[in-house]
């Protein structure tokens, strides 16, 4: 996510079918999960405690959904402008394991009365879905 171009302040013109430039993340590390525990306040041991995760039937620890949902949300904010987002909702469809790298995508599916409906997704390096999301944002006509 380049810091070179600031996100728009005012609603930008977006048309039906327009796509967000795909965002490819670095592979997630256990340190990324621990960092989100600290910044996001999620101390669920299944995300940082290997023994707890294995006892819960998981192969290892996995990322909080709110970590990659937060990253996708920030990508959305960079695209449409953080102050123009009216709603954002995600459904978690799979786990993010250490080493996984995600691709975030977004696409406008409708524009009506100055509000764009947007569908977003996150897939891992094998093309498996880990998150599906929808958003609405103010757009310029």
């Amino acid at each position: 996510m380049s810091a070179a171009t600031p996100p728009p302040v005012e609603p930008r013109p977006l048309r039906d079918g327009e796509e967000m430039a795909p965002v490819l993340t670095e592979p997630f590390t256990r340190t990324d999960f621990v960092r989100y525990a600290g910044s996001g306040g999620d101390y669920h041991p299944i995300h940082h405690d290997e023994e707890f995760a294995r006892a819960a039937g998981m192969p290892t620890v996995f990322g909080m959904g709110m970590l990659h949902a937060g990253m996708l949300g920030l990508a959305l904010a960079r695209w449409v402008g953080p102050e123009n987002i009216r709603s954002f909702g995600t459904r978690f469809t799979g786990q993010v394991w250490p080493g996984d790298a995600l691709t975030f995508r977004g696409r406008v599916t409708a524009v009506e009365d100055g509000v764009a409906s947007i569908e977003l997704s996150a897939e891992n390096q094998d093309g498996a879905s880990v998150l599906k999301a929808t958003a609405t944002a103010l757009v310029a006509s």
């Binding site: 960092r35 600290g38 306040g41 101390y43 909080m64 970590l67 937060g70 990253m71 920030l74």
Partner: protein
């Protein structure tokens, strides 16, 4: 504050929290976006913003003011953490949240249902709704979480 008996029954908690600069910086760095505009008023002004904007998931900052963090709601609902998955989360924003906001989050247990799991066993789906109001009492945002407790292994 006086509460209606019906509302009090399902009220999980209320917490007041600041949308503060250090935590916004940490959050943006965790999201791999180190741009200072996400925490620095001067950088935000240079980008044309009247005040520092926040990521859409910034309501998580309330969790720092809950003794047990983000797992509070699952534990308050009596779910077994080793079997809990975050199923869904959604936000509706009535106005943008910004650095310097002081918000009160009020959470209620909006749903608690049993469902037959795909791989056998009974799942529990718990819905938590949270409203965020500013000190003037204006509703700023609403959030809705679905927590899934999978069947006993």
């Amino acid at each position: 504050m006086r509460e209606e008996p019906e509302a009090a029954k399902d009220a999980l908690e209320s917490v007041r929290f600041p949308v503060e600069r250090s935590k916004l910086m940490e959050l943006a760095r965790t999201f791999k976006d180190p741009d200072p505009l996400w925490h620095d008023p001067a950088a935000a002004a240079a980008a044309g913003f009247d005040s520092v904007p926040v990521p859409p998931t910034a309501t998580v900052l309330a969790d720092h003011w809950r003794e047990r963090g983000a797992t509070f709601h699952a534990e308050a609902a009596g779910l077994d953490l080793s079997r809990v998955l975050h199923g869904e989360v959604s936000w509706e924003f009535l106005r943008p949240i910004r650095l310097g906001d002081e918000l009160t989050a009020v959470s209620t247990l909006a749903g608690d249902e049993a469902r037959q799991g795909k791989r056998g066993g009974e799942m529990r789906l718990v819905t938590v709704e949270t409203s965020y109001t500013d000190p003037a009492g204006e509703l700023v945002a609403r959030r809705r979480d679905t927590l899934i407790e999978t069947g006993p292994r």
